[in-house]
């Protein structure tokens, strides 16, 4: 288990502040970070180094809590404690604010924007994205406003808890991320650690068991707020912390003896 998660780089992404969230773009070549310094930074690789390609600083008056890419990768949404969401459009290496909305976040599987909990105005904003064609994004922005709560479609699925992982984390778990390429599950914890779990190969899918396959106790010097798997490169994990730093890790499933 030692060395199954190794540090590739550590970057002071939001110095003197806290880094709240990270999001990879769909191509896996850009990483957006956001934080308490009210800015979003876009990071890309140049050779072996991660460099800041853009700073999006003029969109919000308070902490930026989360960012999310549109499925086509041309737009970025940011949500802030200033109670607004900005939609940024990417053209080449620049981003500009296209829209500023109240109380909206992405819901990526269905490409619909929905309200977060506690929306003061009881309004819900829906935008439909066509992931197949970039040009459709521009025209399809913000289709419907409706009153009274969150838009739901279809019957509520019912969920059943099939496995609980307890005894591993010593403080609040701030984020979990499931890698679509490898099935590995990463956690970001308030004890400054990053942990990786994998389903035991022979476990019953109805009652799976998970093993801890990596544990870095001092991944950051303060709480880890977010972990994000790169969507194209298996084993590439990004993390960020209250200490304002971002780190990149290489995960390799440990060999079974």
């Amino acid at each position: 288990m030692k060395d199954s998660l190794s540090l590739l780089a550590r970057i002071p992404a939001h110095p003197d502040s806290r880094c709240w969230f990270l999001a990879w773009d769909p191509s896996g070549t850009l990483l957006a970070s956001c934080g308490g310094d009210r800015s979003i930074r876009i990071w890309g690789k140049e050779g072996d180094d991660w460099v800041c390609k853009s700073v999006l600083g003029e969109g919000h008056q308070r902490t930026i809590r989360k960012v999310a890419w549109s499925p086509c990768g041309s737009y970025l949404a940011s949500a802030s404690f200033d109670a607004t969401t900005c939609i940024w459009k990417k053209s080449q290496d620049e981003f500009e604010v296209r829209l500023s909305l109240q109380s909206v976040t992405w819901s990526s599987p269905s490409h619909i924007l929905t309200c977060p909990r506690g929306s003061q105005q009881n309004k819900c904003c829906s935008g439909l994205w066509d992931s197949a064609a970039c040009s459709a994004c521009r025209t399809a922005l913000i289709a419907v406003w409706c009153i009274a709560g969150v838009v739901c479609s279809g019957a509520d699925p019912s969920w059943k808890c099939i496995c609980t992982l307890s005894g591993f984390h010593t403080r609040t778990i701030y984020d979990v991320a499931w890698c679509r390429l490898t099935g590995a599950l990463a956690t970001a914890c308030g004890d400054d650690a990053i942990r990786i779990f994998e389903e035991e190969p022979l476990s019953n899918p109805q009652q799976p068991t998970f093993a801890l396959t990596a544990h870095v106790p001092r991944a950051h010097s303060q709480d880890v707020n977010c972990v994000a798997w790169n969507p194209k490169e298996p084993g590439l994990l990004a993390s960020c912390s209250d200490d304002g730093e971002m780190a990149f890790w290489k995960y390799q499933r440990p060999e079974v003896c």
């Binding site: 806290r18 308490g36 308070r62 902490t63 809590r65 404690f81 010593t170 403080r171 609040t172 308030g190 004890d191 010097s221 709480d223």
Partner: protein, 136 residues
Amino acid sequence: RVPCAGEPGHGAGQSARDIIRTIRDPEKPNTLEELEVVTESCVEVHEIGEDEYLVIIRFTPTVPHCSLATLIGLCLRIKLQRCLPFKHKLEIYISEGAHSTEEDINKQINDKERVAAAMENPNLREIVEQCVTEPD
């Protein structure tokens, strides 16, 4: 359990006590210590790593107003975060039985996101600064 002199955590506990006793009440012209909102025994310290301590504070608000309790909780957190001279994790609770909605209040005052958002509210921030700033 309060560590005794010589035990690890004793200095840490004492630092925490010294930091919180001079915090002013948001409404009254007294310190939290004078009003017995905090006492010697309300600080609990556990060593959780090398030179790192978990500090737990249990305070008793003077009146059962939710907003005042959460405000005091906020002041405690902000001052300790700023002034504790060692690496720490912080938990702040209303002492058991001190409030009817203590579970809700405890959740709020330990919610990192809520605390951060509250400190970006200029009115709240002003009140907190006045409560935690040491007089010259």
